[in-house]
Amino acid sequence: MNASIREVRTSATGPVLSVRDLHTWFELRQWGFLRVGSVRAVDGVNFDLKAGEAVAFVGESGCGKSSLARTLLGLHQPTRGEVIFEGRSLGTLNAAERKAYLARVGYVQQDPYGALPPFMDVRRILHEPLIVHGVRSRAERDKRARAALEEVRLSPPEDFLSKFPHMLSGGQQQRVVIARALILRPAMIIADEPVSMLDASVRVEILQLLRSIQTDHGLTLAFITHDLSTVRHFAERIFVMYAGRIVEQAEVNELLNHPQHPYTQALLAAISDPDADNAHQQREVPPGEPPSLLKPPAGCRFHPRCNRMIAGTCDREYPPDLEPRSGHGTACWLYR
């Protein structure tokens, strides 16, 4: 993994986003003042995104995916480490630069049903970010709102501009959320579980839409999901997260065909393709549940559930990032 990071750095295009040793801990207090401990939601994350690539972050509920996304957007202050966008560390930006950054990075937040303000019509929802970012001309704002609606295939735009969120289906609402994320013409989009609340058939449609917008405009797309069965069609690279850390990363087919980390292997083994034989066999599932991020286990976070745990090693020290196959990184002692 380290080798590939250096390679990306020196390549002609360079990463659009680099994340180094990133930690986002939330302080947990009782009665408002008594410090109980820290929730280590993001706990030592490193990666690079190349301009124009689509990547997916996968992992179970509570493993820190949204916290990571929100830290990338500057909505959480990292406890340690840095986020470097187009060569500049977010921590060094002043207020005006920070605002400019938020215009460069579009955000599709988790939970589409809560994402749109119920009292605004679609026109107002789409005008709002333009107003905030200083587009004064109403005609210009309207033009861009229409273009964004066309982009997400809500056409003709007139049919949608004066609608309120409750008048739209879940899939249409999600398109409006995407249109809003696109309206400032960002270089990168971070989409947090953009489809998990939607029906399967609509899901595929929205993912295809995101992917085609991404390729048409050469955007960088980071999407967060816990659905591994869709990622191969909508991302080029996958990062697998467990308890606040990235445990494995590789190009999509490489990762799906040759998972290295026992956690990734367990995830893939638990996914069913529809087949009547499934009903007649027990699936292998690792015991237990993901650890508390307040007091994560020593060593590898997965070791208490791992069937290949090496006593004295995995339960002592966190594994280093290793590269058991070319371009395929994992943090697991099995590959030392």
Binding site: S61, D199, V204, S229, L268, A270, P274, A279
Partner: protein, 324 residues
């Protein structure tokens, strides 16, 4: 009573009154469930799946416009039962339900063991001790350690709370358990582990299941029979092996093609358009507007045709089959 299915439902309808008219949420549904059989009910959001669950349990909201059909349990017609008799003989006794999002509806101030034991105390007059012992047994069955009996819902993860509500549905040893989206909000590993528990329970206790979900892949972990709903009606009913391998109704075909598969090169397709409004569904086939195989006859409401022994399809394309 050999040969009688455990549950037989014929032409079941449940319509709601609403400010804008009558919502025909469940509009003439027929199927059987045999002993120790698992039927999966699939369909997209709003097609009437939860309404079906409510109708079977006769847990009806106030704004009912119409409720009719036949429902036979072990061959005994129950639609004519008074509420009192239905409660005494059917609901929670023969048939129980895990409601959609039930894991978020646990009583926050009562220990989960007490919540699971409650039906035994209330309906059977068991002592607290005896009911709690039984609750501990059911906890073991669904994969919750007995230590958790003393815990409050907020002390449990989502997966554990879902197992607790499952235990509540099983504690009275019903013949049939209806589960409405029991794992949709959970992670894949938790899902897989709960599906493992259900398979074990089915095998060990001989329980029958109706699993309601929009997740085709996960449904295959339990399904022996599949019923696909569209806009308040059943469009196809078949053995799981036939349905998953060779769906017959055009909607079934599109649905199966829209399911993303881990090891499949082709992209999943999406089904264009939207389901009809149940306030005013079309006269003819309800899927016609989105159907790639639509033809002249589809302006008329299709009959349900039987193909082979075990499959029925509500579609004119299959008019060579026998009428049901």
């Amino acid at each position: 009573m050999a040969g009688e299915p455990l549950l037989r439902v014929e032409d079941l309808k449940l319509h709601y009154r609403s400010g804008r008219g009558v919502v025909r949420a469940l509009d003439g549904v027929s199927f059987d469930v045999r002993r120790n059989e698992a039927l999966v009910v699939l369909g997209e959001s709003g097609c009437g799946k939860s309404t079906l669950a409510k109708a079977l349990m006769r847990l009806l909201p106030r704004n009912i416009a119409h409720f009719s059909g036949r429902m036979l349990v072990d061959g005994v017609e129950t639609m004519g039962h008074s509420e009192e008799r239905f409660r005494r003989e059917v609901r929670w006794v023969r048939i129980s339900l895990v409601m959609q999002a039930a894991m978020n509806a646990l009583n926050p101030v009562v220990r989960v063991g007490q919540q699971v034991a409650e039906p035994l105390r209330v309906h059977r007059g068991w002592s607290n001790r005896r009911a709690l012992d039984r609750a501990a047994e059911v906890f073991a069955l669904v994969g919750v350690s007995a230590d958790f009996l003393q815990r409050y819902p907020f002390e449990l993860s989502g997966g554990m709370r879902q197992r607790v509500v499952l235990a509540m549905a099983l504690v009275t040893e019903p013949d049939l358990v209806i589960m409405d989206e029991p794992t949709s909000a959970l992670d894949v590993l938790t899902q897989a582990s709960i599906m493992n528990a259900l398979k074990r329970i089915k095998q060990e206790l001989g329980t029958s299941f109706i699993l309601i979900t929009h997740d085709v892949s996960t449904s295959s972990e339990l399904a022996e029979r599949v019923a696909l709903m569209y806009a308040g009606q059943l469009v196809e009913l078949a053995d799981a092996k036939d349905f998953f391998r060779e769906p017959a109704h055009p909607y079934s075909k599109l649905l199966m093609a829209s399911v993303p598969r881990l090891h499949q090169e082709e992209k999943p397709v999406h089904i264009p358009g939207q389901p009809p409004n149940l306030l005013d569904p079309p006269e003819g086939c309800r899927f016609a507007e989105r159907c790639p195989s639509r033809f002249g006859r589809c302006d008329r409401d299709p009959e349900t045709f039987r193909i082979g022994e075990r499959r029925t399809v509500r579609c004119w394309l299959h008019a060579e089959g026998t009428r049901t």
